[in-house]
């Protein structure tokens, strides 16, 4: 018996497909219809509304909050001022990734951390001697993500704060539809989008207001399947799919360091408080990594001709595929890694994947091959290591007020 979130009465009334899955012990919608296509296009063309309450959430309060978070996070949290959010990795004392998290500084002495796994014990372990409290707000706070180009327009009329001024990766307390919330400009779609942190008693008021306000903008409730396609396009890794939390790994080879699972960009080595596992991460920077996380562009013409051999039209699953498949060297002789998330990108019209390969095969432009099954036969398709994100629209970071200010400054300079 999984639990339901405070939005369940609304969400379940709309979920005509009855397709749900377990997310952190909660019931979560896969698709509202039989297919996720409509929801995918909502995220990229108008906006999608997603219940993200099952995320783990922690409130860290007290004068030493930044110290604690700097100890456990790859980012130097001490340098982040009030209102900023950052994405970072949590690593074990051997430098292996445990989870990826966001940390937002809501107040001078208040940080909110979100993660996919529970970490209360971990935070306490490194809080000894610090003036800090750790509150698990996973059950006392629910959350909605509103993602897509129309997200700002929908939020603006019902939000107290001027959404034109809200910049990328910022968080602030405000009111939506008269309810006290925090809004952060974050998300898992690589698009313009926000996450709204709501008290459970206000959940339905906010949900209804957003749907109402969103109606003329074609806002659609979306499920996890559409999200999965967009997050691959955005090049985001998923713990448990693209890499595995070190605490869950039975064997060493399954574990990854941040540099090996695409989270290396979150590492701040210049800092006052060294993070747990930092010496291992530094040594790896000197000695080199075993793995590299890569984006793969799978050759479409080759795929078409492969299907031609079988007298079949190309056929791909309508949703993202999380079944890991082997990656081979260009000559097809040696298995050098695995593609862990694969999807057809409706926007890019490309067949793309995220995978892990042995570091020497991770150079940009490296030609590789990836397994593909046609008519029950395992075949290979050529692919190339490419930059991530695969899709990175300007609107993701664009902030109207900041742009206007810049323009004014430019005009004044003229």
């Amino acid at each position: 018996m999984a639990r339901t979130t405070p939005f369940h009465s609304r969400v379940s009334a709309l979920c005509t497909s009855y397709l749900y899955k377990d997310w952190n012990g909660f019931v979560a919608v896969c698709n509202f219809d039989a297919y996720s296509e409509r929801e995918y296009y909502a995220i990229r063309q108008s906006a999608g509304l997603l219940d993200v309450s099952p995320l783990r959430k922690y409130e860290i309060r007290g004068p030493d909050g930044a110290k604690l978070l700097s100890r456990v996070m790859t980012r130097n949290i001490e340098k982040y001022g009030v209102g900023r959010v950052t994405y970072c990795a949590l690593v074990d004392p051997f430098g292996k990734c445990l989870d990826d998290c966001t940390v937002g500084r809501i107040g001078k002495q208040h940080w909110r951390m979100t993660s996919s796994e529970p970490w209360v014990r971990w935070l306490h372990r490194y809080a000894r001697g610090l003036d800090v409290t750790i509150e698990d707000s996973s059950d006392t706070l629910c959350a909605l993500a509103i993602q897509g180009p129309a997200a700002r327009k929908i939020l603006k009329p019902i939000t107290d704060f001027d959404m034109d001024r809200m910049r990328f990766f910022r968080i602030r307390p405000t009111r939506v539809a008269g309810c006290d919330v925090e809004i952060s400009r974050t998300g898992y779609t690589g698009d313009l989008g926000y996450e709204i942190w709501i008290k459970p008693e206000d959940a339905l008021t906010v949900y209804d207001a957003l749907l109402e306000e969103g109606r003329p903008h074609q806002l659609q409730p979306i499920g996890l399947d559409a999200l999965d396609v967009t997050r691959i396009e955005a090049g985001f890794v998923l713990q448990g799919i693209d890499y595995f939390s070190a605490k869950d790994c039975i064997i060493e080879i399954r574990k990854s360091t941040p540099d090996e699972c695409g989270l290396g960009f979150t590492i701040d080595l210049e800092r006052d408080i060294r993070f747990v596992g930092q010496e291992h991460v530094e040594r790896e920077r000197d000695e080199g990594s075993t793995w590299a996380l890569v984006g793969l562009d799978i050759d479409w013409p080759a795929l078409e001709s492969l299907y031609n051999e079988y007298d079949l039209p190309p056929h791909l699953a309508p949703e993202a595929c999380r079944l890991a498949v082997p990656i081979f060297s260009a000559d097809g002789r040696k298995q050098v890694g695995q593609a862990t998330s694969t999807t057809w990108s409706p926007t890019l019209k490309k067949y793309i994947a995220i995978g892990q390969v042995f570091a020497p095969y991770g150079q940009m432009g490296t030609a590789l091959r990836v397994e593909h099954t046609v008519e029950f036969e395992r075949r290979h398709l050529p692919c190339t290591v490419v930059e991530k994100p695969f899709f990175d629209p300007e609107r993701k970071r664009f902030t109207p007020a900041a742009a206007a200010k810049k323009n004014r400054a430019k005009d004044a300079a003229k």
């Binding site: 018996m1 999984a2 012990g25 014990r121 971990w122 306490h124 605490k247 869950d248």
Partner: protein, 530 residues
């Protein structure tokens, strides 16, 4: 003496039957002799009250070796195991603690007591699972003899040494701690909440005359983590039809392979001629049955000192067998119920009671129960492990009615006044158990239609388990592996030629596992004696 059997098996318990089935499968002429009217030994189902089937002694299955199920085609012979859904610990205040197959549900339940514990619980399970996998490599092979220089033993010891060395350092450290610490000390290293540690520590005391704070009990914890159904580690289940159904399936398989089984045929003694076991004499009739091998499915003391007699062994061996610890510490209460007795802290007959229910509210509760026993009394408030087989298998009771099986610890065999005074104390003992249940299920008394109370004395007299020890001797580390039942004689062979020990008193020990019987047959066949 009309015909010569290749092997006659004394005792139709599950191990005796497994041994018989393997020997018969290899084409040997085999006879199983069972004293009671039905096969199964301590794995029997009996209809003691019309319409109510009691899984009288043993009541859960998990360690039954999958290779035995496959080799003996037990599913074809009717064996069906139903997994227990959860493990419920009711409390007098609050909703109690339920541990489920669903990790998220379990996490939320544990978080009611400690968020930290809820997060480390899966890690503990993983660590124990790894060690259990390591330990399991011991239980599917005959024990190596560390004093032997025979190539086979050396290779086997080296193999185990290698397995131990291949464990990561942290795992090896845990393994050493497990071998020496008490269950509670070991759990203290991982967890903080008493409500979680109490039911977890219980696995460490089952069938031993030790408390949860006694050194050595940590190892037994691990033994219980080895439970598996279909290779699914740590899943416990009950057999459809009770544990008697396990014995019946094995007996049916043995018969299909050509074994003969005679019930109501108690063996009085083993015939010894020229320093060799040559057959058995039946009690009552005095009928003699000749056999090339006599295999005992009974415990070591009953086998060597009872059925054979001390005169046939040297003093040192006799002393070792006398020193072998039994110290039965548990009893059993089985109830026929006119309806389900709801738990106050979590009403209804839902999923939470479709598993085992542990009356183990705190560590102090368990230690107090042990203190009573240490000084020769049964526990006034004992540790109980309760299962309602009728919830999972409706054929066990008439519709709407239920059977309750309660494993009770402590009920020391060596009770104040001597074990023979147990019949006078049986009633009071049963009352203590029912009073304990009534604290959690107030309606229990009015629902009881029939009650069976088994003290360790009763278990010894009725089922032939010396001192009522359910494992044929304590499962402490000094009585396991190459020391079970005694150093030098852990490979089913005994000092008396032609006599074999194939019971829970042999490696790898007790539980409805079948491994001692199966491994004994394998060793006999390998050695070409049968």
């Amino acid at each position: 003496m009309s015909e010569i059997y290749d092997a006659v098996i004394v005792g139709g318990g599950h191990n005796g039957l497994v041994c018989a089935a393997y020997l018969a499968r290899a084409g040997r002429k085999v006879l199983v002799l069972e004293r009671r009217y039905l096969v199964g030994g301590a794995a029997v189902t009996e209809e003691l009250h019309p319409g109510f089937k009691f899984t009288v002694c043993s009541y859960v299955v998990s360690l039954l070796r999958p290779w035995i199920v496959r080799d003996l085609e037990l599913a074809r012979h009717g064996l069906q195991i139903i997994p227990l859904e959860c493990s419920f610990t009711p409390h007098l205040d609050g909703p109690g603690l339920c541990r489920w197959a669903d990790p998220h549900k379990t996490r939320r339940e544990i978080a009611n007591f400690s968020v930290k514990d809820s997060e480390i619980y899966p890690e503990f399970g993983r660590a124990m699972g790894r060690l259990a996998r390591f330990a399991k490599s011991f239980i599917d092979e005959p024990a190596p003899d560390p004093t032997s220089f025979r190539p086979r033993d050396l290779i086997q010891m080296m193999g185990l040494g290698q397995k131990f060395r291949s464990l990561p350092d942290d795992m090896a450290a845990i393994q050493l701690k497990l071998s020496t610490m008490s269950g509670v000390d070991f759990l203290d290293e991982w967890f903080e909440s008493d409500q979680l540690k109490a039911p977890m520590s219980c696995s460490g005391i089952i069938g031993t005359m030790l408390g949860v704070r006694s050194p050595g009990t940590a190892y037994v914890l691990l033994h219980h983590y080895m439970g598996e159904i279909d290779g699914n580690s740590r899943a416990w289940g009950i057999a459809k039809g009770g544990n008697g159904a396990v014995s019946e399936a094995i007996a049916s398989s043995a018969k299909a392979f050509g074994a003969e089984i005679r019930c109501n045929a108690g063996v009085e003694r083993v015939l010894v001629k020229g320093g060799r076991a040559v057959g058995v004499v039946l009690a009552g009739s005095g009928e003699e049955i000749a056999a090339r091998n006599v295999v005992s499915g009974c415990d070591p003391r009953l086998t060597f000192l009872g059925l054979v007699g001390r005169d046939h062994f040297d003093d040192e061996f006799v002393q070792q067998i006398e020193r072998y610890k039994y110290r039965g510490s548990s009893g059993k209460v089985n109830l026929a119920l006119d309806g389900f007795p709801e738990f106050t802290c979590r009403p209804g007959d839902g999923a939470h009671v479709r598993g085992d229910v542990a009356i183990a509210p705190s560590i102090d509760y368990l230690e107090r129960a042990y203190t009573d026993a240490k000084y020769g009394n049964f526990s006034k408030r004992p540790y109980l492990n309760i299962v309602f087989p009728s919830l999972l298998d409706p054929t066990m009771a008439p519709p709407g009615k239920h059977v309750l099986s309660a494993f009770v610890q402590y009920a020391p065999y060596h009770i104040d006044g001597g074990p023979e005074t147990w019949p006078d104390k049986r009633e009071a003992f049963g009352d203590a158990v029912i009073d304990t249940i009534a604290e959690y299920c107030p309606s229990i008394r009015e629902k009881i239609l029939y009650k069976q109370v088994l003290s360790p004395w009763d278990i010894e007299k009725e089922f032939g388990l010396t001192e009522g020890n359910i494992f044929h001797g304590e499962l402490s580390l000094d009585q396991l592996l190459f020391q079970r039942p005694t150093a030098g004689w852990a490979r089913y062979k005994t000092p008396l030629k032609g006599l074999w020990l194939a019971s829970s008193g042999a490696h790898p020990g007790g539980g409805v596992m079948g491994a001692p019987g199966g491994l004994a047959a394998k060793v006999m066949l390998e050695q070409g004696v049968v």
